[in-house]
Amino acid sequence: MNRTAILWRVASVLVAASFIAAWQLVADLRLVSPVFLPGPDRAWAALVRGFSSGDLAGKLIGTLEHMAYGWLAASIAGIALGALIGSSRTMRAYVAPSLEFLRPLPVSAIIPVAIAMLGLTQGMALFVIAFGAIWPIMLATVHGFAAVEPRLYEVARSLQMSRAAIIGKIALPSALPDILAGMRLSLTVALILSVVCEILAGLDGLGHWVLLSARAFRSADLFAGVILLGATGYVTSIAMSLVEQRLLAWQTAAR
């Protein structure tokens, strides 16, 4: 980063800080009832208190666990199914339209069905999160496999590579940008569905924490939870871009 970029960044942080100061002012002047809007000082205090007593850390870990297990299951299943469908022309013709039909379905609508089947359990949450997160990954994989440069397949045929070798050495690497973009999208889906499942099923996590805080009108705790959820979304998306950069470094270098 050069000097002007750093200066802009500092100015940008200052602008954000002034928004927080304005929030503090609104809270201090009681323009909005403190029942609904705690000042940033109280939200921060609640955050520190929650972490020092260990409550909030446990909830954060709970949410991260739901999200990670569901997302990982969805990634593995999504890439495998997507590769299976995407690498065969017949499968694409018969199966892909059904998948496209299911794509605009609001995935949260599957929650009641999952509750009827599995009850208000961890398994239900895991199923819902994985089911919701699988679509972007699977469709991106199908799309990525379908868009592989046809001449690469010709090369593979003339080298007499096996189907597994074609998938592993040619199709997967060239579909990787699509797959990673799908995985990034479904990371957000996984976080949202984790929160919804925790709210509905009372599972240990930040979703349950913010709902309980709201019911008890403990607005500072509520804001602390929302801030942590925002931080979770931010950190996971940053981590994903780092992974993306690293895994796709060969591609930018080749261009």
């Binding site: 954000a16 339209p97 605009p104 379905l105 609508a109 009641p112 009827a116 957000t188 929160v195 509520l222």
Partner: protein, 254 residues
Amino acid sequence: MSLDRTKPLLLPLALMLAFELWARLIHLQSDSLAPPSAILAALATALADLSIPIATRDTLFAAFAGLAIGSAIGLALGIAFGISRPLDRLMEVTVEAIRPIPSIALLPIALIALGFGYRMEIVIVAFACVWPMLIMTRSAVRSIEPRLMEVSRALRLSAPQRIAKIVIPAALPRIFVAFRLSAGIALIVAVTVEIAINPIGLGAGIMLAQQALRADLMLAYLVWIGAIGYALNILLIAAQRRLFGRAALAGDHP
């Protein structure tokens, strides 16, 4: 040609037929599954007694109201950030800090501030719709042919004139793509809020059917919600083709 048309339909039809036969063979009694014939019957009944049409109206009202508010805010901010690079850089950290908050996390805040009903749902939908609109409008405005902006300067257009006559028309195809994506998000968020907590609309309907152990009605709602999502998507894609032709498709895969 006719075979190509029927191919996509074969898999779902075969699955439904197999499920129907299986359900009849074992005389399925379940709280979570129902044969397709029972689902269709429940759907027809619920459509006839107006419970599904009323729920649909509630959900679509909340989704579209939130979409209108959210995309208007997103559009205004997107144009402002797209035109003025300094403004964009100054607001960068603020936007980056607020955007990753999952929309559904605002649910408890909206709940204690606004109570149950349309208002809290509209606020959450609006929050979710701001971001795709902002990000895509900003990049659309920024990629406007620079010579067009030079022309507007040469003509000494005022800032509002420049936005109305140059910026919006030039960026409109890609703005519509953003609007289409936001509409999908609006429906998803509205249904999610209803399922999680708000006792109105299709989401509340499907939860009630589940709690009443009416598997056929629950799955009928699921099919209906899917059909609404599909119809909305088809409608907006058709509108996009009609209005902008190939210009909009160019922005689809940037």
